[in-house]
Amino acid sequence: MSIAVCRNLTKRYGHITALKNINLEIEGGKIIGLLGPNGSGKTTLIKLMSGILTPDEGDALICDEKIGVNTKKIVSYLPERTYLNDWMRAKDIINMFSDFYRDFKADTAYEMLKKLNINADDRLKTMSKGTREKVQLVLVMSREAKLYLLDEPIGGVDPAARDYILKTILNNYSEDASVIISTHLISDIEPVLDDVIFIKEGNMVLHSTVDEIREKNNKSVDALFREVFAC
């Protein structure tokens, strides 16, 4: 069974069409890189799959279900911005996730915070932007979800933390789950990717496995990206 299916998915912002007729099928057990330049529609696609946006045409299905309460139970979404409540401590937000998500593992979250040297008693408003992003990633990856939607998970953190975050993503998703990662930092994530999706001006221009890209084009994903999206 496919984890996620998009059928003729279209989204417009006023006169601008951010996504045009996207048809996509994501299988379980894969890490997929969602790649494209700024404004290409990556974030819009992730938002549509998470239910933050509603499509103008077409639909998205997660485990054969239309986006709604049931899909939110199995989708773990990391937005590109901080959504944490300032008044909370890290442990409060862990309690909140435990309350709302059945698949959330509080022990895993505490363990990950410890490895990242983040004190669970610290208030979120006293944390730096990078630390908050780490806390968010910890929360998202501490769920045993079917689909992880990660929008720029390594964009705001230092290179040393990036390695840990990528390791965290690799170690924490179950074998039948899939991870969609949107990022500009292709060379950093290339080693962990199974598939890549290139999005250009709202159109999906490529959906392929990393191995195919290397075999057919004799290039790395990073090199192909630079070629496809050359200015």
Binding site: L53, N70, K72, F100
Partner: protein, 271 residues
């Protein structure tokens, strides 16, 4: 899930309320102490007592406004700003998300009324005024009936129902306005505020039409208010008019709540 959402809404707001509640209680206690000794303290004591009295009044007004300001800002921040990225991905239906905000607003309204009742008791020195009021309610009721006729009771009852429904009326307009504002790609807040004024205007016009129709269909207009010498009959007529208006007063907020839920569910546009 609804209960959990209410729990986190209360947790997010209770500290702000506690500060104001503490201020109200402390200022009422200080006022009572200073007022008791005002004769001995002289002019300074009187000045201090009036300053504390003013602080108390300001805090009382602030607490009433705060209930509504926090209800509105919490909704805006939690559903339409960055926090919405978490709120809208929680595994619960949108109607529960909106309802949790409404119930929380009612909880803080009731808490504020209780605190204010308690603080007024301290402030005035009549600590048991509320209990006395309840105790003497049957006497007050019979006095009112004797003075204004039995028509006054349904009118008071209607007034109380309106008072209970008023926060729902206000907040449903706010929620609906935000849901419309959410559709804008440029200025969601500005669009929401404009919608609120528009909805409020339509609501007022509808209310005016509804009451006018009720008045024209009653004996108040046909027999002319000016010739009606029986005040009791006038009160009875007013009760029936406002009874009819209550249908609108209840139906409009319910309709706005349903529409807000529909828009946030089907047309969510969180940028």
């Amino acid at each position: 899930m609804l209960g959990k959402a209410i729990k986190y809404d209360i947790l997010a707001q209770y500290k702000s309320f506690c500060v104001v509640y503490a201020g109200i209680i402390i200022s009422s206690i200080f006022f009572r102490i200073l007022d008791s000794f005002s004769d001995n303290l002289g002019r300074v004591g009187k000045v201090m007592s009036s300053v504390i009295g003013s602080i108390f009044t300001i805090l009382v007004i602030a607490s009433i406004f705060m209930v509504f300001i926090l209800a509105v800002t919490r909704f805006y921040k939690n559903l339409m700003r960055d926090e919405g990225y978490l709120t809208h991905t929680l595994p619960m239906p949108t109607w529960q998300l909106i309802l949790s905000k409404l119930i929380t607003a009612y909880i803080f309204t009731i808490a504020t009324i209780i605190i204010l009742g308690f603080a007024f008791g301290i402030f005035s020195g009549e600590y048991l005024w509320l209990f006395e009021l309840i105790e003497q309610s049957s006497y007050i009721k019979s006095e009112m009936i004797a003075e204004a006729g039995p028509g006054i009771i349904p009118l008071i009852r209607i007034g109380l129902i309106y008072a209970v429904l008023a926060p729902f009326t206000f907040l449903s307009q706010v929620y609906f306005s935000f849901s419309i504002g959410n559709l804008s790609n440029k200025n969601k807040l500005g669009f929401s505020i404009l919608t609120y004024f528009g909805v409020n205007c339509v609501n007022q016009i509808l209310g005016f039409i509804f009451i006018s129709i009720g008045a024209f269909n009653s004996n108040l207009i046909t027999n002319s208010v000016y010739t009606a010498t029986d005040d009791k009959a006038v009160l009875s007529e007013l009760s029936s008019i406002f009874n009819g208006y209550m249908i609108l007063f209840l139906l409009v907020p319910i309709a706005l709540y349903i529409l807000a839920n529909y828009i946030f569910t089907k047309k969510l546009n969180l940028e």
